[in-house]
């Protein structure tokens, strides 16, 4: 593939090695213990797919990777950044002294921002800014946060929109687009941030079936171009074809992990087998 065929080049830096390691991630919402110690390793240029029944905790894992959720315990090491110790952080926030709590809150804030600034997320319901045009949605982060000059950001945004076939929609408002187009803008908005890590939270679950393909196609191209991605998905076909590793979660733990060929053709765990059966043969 020649460089001009690319949607977007991943940001410069090493092309291999481990980008992200998560160890023993735990999270409760009230009495609901959603994550019971999840380990995760993402190597550069790889696509990790998180599958599992609803309520299995897969979305919470994803949201913990960019600070949208704060785990109660566990370690998160994003290569080149600080190792975030959520247990220590929770202990600091929970200290009795006022100064201690403030220090804890400051640490938590720093940790969240450190995680967030390396990644970008594509949401299930796209979460585009409805009061801004497609172009304004895409350049919001680069111009407002990353201090990239407006002209530069616009040029890059136009290039990205053209690559996903939306050049002519640059001045449209999100509500004027189809669901698939909205989601492609969501992907472009994420790419424009030049993140090390792309996070996808069920990006096709809210789409009409005939619109799923156009979004998955873009995601597959990004995977081929070497972007590092973590994808929560119900599209098993996509996970099978595109993912380098598949994690099956249930009840807040990783039940099984492995190469897609192994997970889908020959799952080791009974729970995995039953889940796959239910999805692949819903009428049986």
């Amino acid at each position: 593939m020649s460089p001009t065929d690319r949607i977007a080049v991943p940001p410069p830096g090493p092309r291999s090695g481990t980008l992200l390691t998560a160890r023993g991630i735990q999270k409760s919402f009230g009495a609901n213990h959603v994550l019971r110690g999840v380990d995760l390793e993402v190597r550069r240029g790889e696509v990790v797919a998180l599958i599992g029944p609803s309520g299995s905790g897969k979305t919470t894992v994803l949201r913990s990777l960019n600070g949208l959720e704060t785990p109660d315990a566990g370690l998160l090491d994003l290569d080149g950044g600080p190792v975030v110790d959520f247990g220590a952080q929770a202990a600091a926030v929970g200290t009795r002294s006022w100064a201690g709590r403030r220090a804890g809150a400051r640490l938590a804030k720093l940790n969240r921002a450190a995680l967030r600034d390396r990644s970008a997320m594509v949401f299930q319901h796209h979460n585009l800014f409805p009061h801004r045009t497609v172009l304004e949605n895409v350049i919001e982060g680069p111009t407002q946060v990353q201090q990239i000059p407006r002209e530069t950001a616009i040029g890059e945004a136009e290039g990205l929109l053209a690559r996903v076939g939306l050049a002519d929609k640059r001045d449209a408002y999100p509500h004027e687009l189809s669901g698939g187009q909205q989601q492609r803008v969501g992907i472009v908005r994420a790419l424009a941030l030049q993140p090390d890590l792309l996070l996808f939270d069920e990006p096709t679950s809210a789409l009409d079936p005939e619109l799923v393909g156009e979004v998955l196609t873009v995601m597959k191209e990004l995977a081929d171009e070497g972007w590092t991605m973590v994808v929560v998905t119900h599209e098993l076909q996509f996970a099978r074809q595109v993912a380098t590793e598949v994690l099956f979660l249930d009840g807040g733990v990783v039940v099984e992990r492995g190469a897609p060929a192994q997970i889908f053709s020959n799952p080791a765990e009974e729970r995995t087998r039953r889940f796959l059966d239910r999805i692949l043969h819903p009428l049986d």
Binding site: L68, R116, G141
Partner: protein, 219 residues
């Protein structure tokens, strides 16, 4: 009916409206909105003390008559050594009053913006303050235009109370002319008509503003 009196009094009354009623309402509303945003943010704060302060303010403003608030400031405060001129005093009272009422509107409007918008702001790198300013408030503004217009129109009429603390706005003018001419019915009806005119124009403005803010919403 004394047509000559109506003709003669129309311009003084209208001038009272244009130089008294409208500026008083505009200044109070502008300041009141800033106050409302601050109080709404206090109420939305996770800090319990701040949230309580916001709640107490709203309760106090909504739980006491505007006329009593005006009298406390003008006739009560001098006894503890604080004396305010009619205009600044009236603006303070009216903006504090608007602040209390509009705070609830602004709070509800902020809460009406889906949580995913905050999250999207976060993931593109924004601080909560920047998300609020660039993402949340513009969307909240659209929702709050109809109820805030209501507040503004009420305020325009409520400024007539300022006549009781010697602000020379339209109704004070009307009282002077009515007393002088003894044509109470004629003059007060005329004043009512001009208030009505003002409010009709404001309603039209509200419609235009709503249309403008609706351009990015699916119909």
């Amino acid at each position: 009916m004394d047509w000559q009196l109506i003709a003669d009094s129309f311009w003084p009354l209208l001038r009272g409206g244009l130089t008294g009623t409208i500026p008083l309402a505009l200044a109070s509303f502008a300041i009141g909105l800033v106050l409302a945003l601050l109080i709404a943010l206090l109420r939305l704060s996770p800090n319990r003390v701040l949230s309580w302060v916001g709640r107490a303010y709203v309760s106090l403003i909504r739980g006491t008559p505007l006329l009593v608030q005006l009298f406390v400031i003008f006739y009560g405060m001098p006894s503890i050594g604080i004396r305010l001129d009619p205009w600044p005093g009236a603006i303070i009272v009216f903006s504090m009053n608007v602040g209390g009422y509009a705070a609830e509107i602004v709070r509800a409007a902020i809460l009406s913006v889906p949580k995913g918008q905050w999250e999207a702001g976060w993931t593109v790198g924004m601080s909560p303050a920047r998300s609020l300013r660039r993402i949340i408030l513009p969307q909240a503004a659209r929702v709050s235009v109809p109820p805030l217009s209501n507040t503004f129109i009420s305020l325009v009429k409520d400024t007539s109370l300022a006549s009781l603390v010697l602000v020379t706005e339209m109704f004070r003018k009307a009282e002077e002319i009515a007393t002088f001419s003894s044509e109470f019915m004629t003059i007060y009806m005329e004043a009512a008509l001009i208030y009505w005119m003002f409010c009709t124009v404001l309603s039209a403005g509200q419609d235009a503003l709503e249309k403008r803010l609706d351009r990015y919403v699916a119909h």
